[in-house]
Assembly symmetry: D3
Homo-oligomer: 102 residues x 6
């Protein structure tokens, strides 16, 4: 789907997508920390697709289950009980990732 | 002001405040990482008081200026240009903290 | 799903879930009023799962259809037309609850 | 300031303001309950002016301090720690109202 | 579904729906501009149903693909990367509208 | 303040600021329409600084008072009564701009 978006000749949209990719590169903060930041930002803004994406990226960066739950706990306390349905889907997605790679 | 809130005998409010404190303790993720998570969550939810609070906590936890700007960049890209006025106040607050401790 | 979340040994998450349950207990405000507060908060924050949950709780607490629509009207006016798709699903959920118990 | 807004001949804006007033009238739910709904909606959406307005309206409708704190607790748990700075200002506003009328 | 909502005798809800319709009528700003405003507001508030509705209305008002992508770019930059999953669904909906009418 | 932000060598932040400027340039949609989009997006996201900024830009682009109020009406209906305090400040800011240039 991103391809369909990017094949349209809109420079602002294309540059935004490039910038989004650049954001999570290793730097003063490492990739793992940045992906955790993206995950918690997605949790408190309550975007399921974004949460799943960052969970997968975090896993690839070596985040373990205890670390995931601590990140979840920050998102839950900052964002409140309105985050709970998204947390349920986040844990379900994480479980399926772990099962698939077991 | 927290004292005025907590002196009222409401157990849910009191427990929430205790839980909020517990959330950022060292654990599977260290204090520094958790405070960065709190900072970016506050940025994308655009709460100036929360941003200032977590900037101060992050600084105490050893976050340096390059790391702050990378955390800011995640908040800016995830949250969009609507975050910019809060980013201005965040950088201003950080500058004043650094000046005060120089 | 809550069980899968709670079986992980994260005290902040567990305490948050316990606090969430405690929040709606009868007190200075009765259960019915508190569930209505939870319902309107969920409407303006636009979380379908939370809305359905509080509609079911409100119904168990004796909220009738006229009262539901007045609560909906507060959520709609405070939250704006962006609430309308959630209101549609809320009324659909309420209709199905009423049909199931008829 | 509302007068300056309403003296401009825009029918949608005028009707919205009239509808906003109508929303909180006694009906199937009484004024007090509706004002509490408006208060908690304002808390989770984090609008200080709206919170102060509904606190004043709730007080006129007979909401007492214990009831206020239970409404605050619902807003805090649903909306999360990001609500805390607004809760501080809410309690401060309530304290000043109570002092003024003592 | 709107019919089910409107057949209930709640005057605030009915008036809100009427006001919502009135909002987008030709006036000092034309229908096309107003529908674009509704579209970008829906994008930054991230409501898929509202986005699809305004895309269809914009198309009927003559918005072309380049104009859509410029409106999307404003929504994306103001609202941030959290808008991306909604943008994907928006472009997919627009593609299907265009295919259906080809 | 933007200068203080941009003098720090963070490429993501700098590119985001450049992209933000590029977003509102004349294109398939003209500058005036894009600034109106930015204004309504800022209204429904309730950012006073962003609203003031876009009001000033809209005025420079030739938006008149009737057009402003129609844009405000879209923001008010989409975003709900929670937008009202921001609308008050928006009208106050617009009044001051008009007085200053009279």
């Amino acid at each position: 789907m991103n391809e369909r978006i990017l094949e349209h000749d809109n420079q602002v949209v294309r540059r935004f997508f490039a910038l989004d990719t650049q954001t999570y590169k290793d730097g003063a903060l490492n990739l793992k920390t940045k992906e955790l930041l993206g995950l918690v930002a997605s949790l408190v803004l309550r975007c399921d697709d974004c949460i799943s994406y960052h969970i997968a990226q975090c896993r690839d960066a070596g985040v373990n289950r205890d670390e995931f739950f601590e990140a979840f706990s920050v998102g839950l306390v900052v964002g409140g009980s309105i985050v709970i349905p998204h947390l349920r889907r986040a844990v379900d997605f994480l479980d399926r990732l772990e099962t698939a790679s077991a």
